[in-house]
């Protein structure tokens, strides 16, 4: 496994992993804080996770336009902000557990609204983030797709 030539070596530097780790700590701490501010009863709509996931999706849409189309950012920007902070800020596992808990609590309508609403709002948020960022940048920089 260690000698696999297909495996990209560049991104596996310890400094990049440390930067991702630091970002993940910050993002996770923020997500926990939102959970403290918006506690969940177990039977109602899980607003805390919804808010972090949709806002993180919006922010990642904005960030990726700047990273891929506008700047040539420092090599720590995407690992720290995109992979670390926003990856730590948003979560899929809690989204799944809350949906399970709602179903187990006999709230299928709320579970369905939460699962579907998060997906639709998350995708729209990414798209809006991309559009908003592109509105802010000069058109000459809009050539690089994704």
């Amino acid at each position: 496994m260690e000698n696999d030539e297909k495996r990209p070596r560049g991104p596996l530097h310890a400094d990049v992993l440390a930067v991702i780790s630091a970002g993940g700590s910050l993002g996770s701490l923020g997500r926990w804080g939102v959970g403290e501010l918006l506690p969940w009863s177990g039977t109602t709509f899980p607003w805390a996770t919804f808010v972090v996931n949709v806002s993180g999706a919006l922010a990642l849409g904005v960030l990726m336009v700047f990273v891929l189309e506008v700047w040539r950012p420092h090599r720590y920007v995407r690992p720290f902000v995109g992979i670390g902070v926003l990856g730590g800020w948003t979560t899929f596992s809690t989204y799944a557990l809350e949906a399970r808990d709602l179903l187990a609590a006999g709230r299928p309508a709320t579970a369905f609204a939460y699962v579907g609403g998060s997906l639709v709002a998350g995708l729209v948020a990414v798209w809006l983030g991309i559009l908003a960022a592109r509105l802010l940048v000069p058109s000459s920089h809009q050539e690089v797709p994704w």
Binding site: I20, S28, N53, G88, T91, F92, S93, R100, G122, I130
Partner: protein, 123 residues
């Protein structure tokens, strides 16, 4: 205490997601985001098992904060899941985008609920 274990868990989960993504993406040539799919399913399964273990064993609250909020929370991601799905849509791969959305949700929820049920039975 809770704050510390969340920070520590996040510091572990985020680089694990990155390493898993690099590893999984290097194993195939398709555009389908298998790396994110994999971490989201694995993290959902682990969180389901952990939540059941906390209930069944009466584990202290910091266990769920560390493993659930910290490690699984940072190991899994909703932002990259959303971004990769929109990217597939933008490339015209509507079927792949739909498959990624539906499969992530169905398999992720199934892994979480299944892990919870199995752990509840065994513990």
């Amino acid at each position: 205490m809770t704050v510390l274990v969340v920070v520590l868990g996040g510091a572990i989960g985020a680089p694990l997601r990155y390493l898993a993504d690099v590893f999984v993406q290097s194993r195939h040539d398709s555009d389908f985001p298998w790396g994110t799919f994999t971490v989201n399913i694995v993290g959902s399964l682990v969180l389901g098992v952990t939540a059941a273990a906390v209930v069944e064993l009466g584990s202290p609250p910091w266990v769920l904060a560390f493993v659930g909020t910290g490690i699984c929370g940072a190991l899994t991601t909703f932002s990259t899941f959303g971004y990769e799905t929109v990217r597939l849509l933008d490339e015209g791969s509507v079927l792949a985008a739909a498959a990624n959305s539906v499969a992530s949700i169905v398999v992720g929820l199934g892994a979480c609920a299944g892990g919870f049920a199995v752990a509840s039975t065994l513990l």
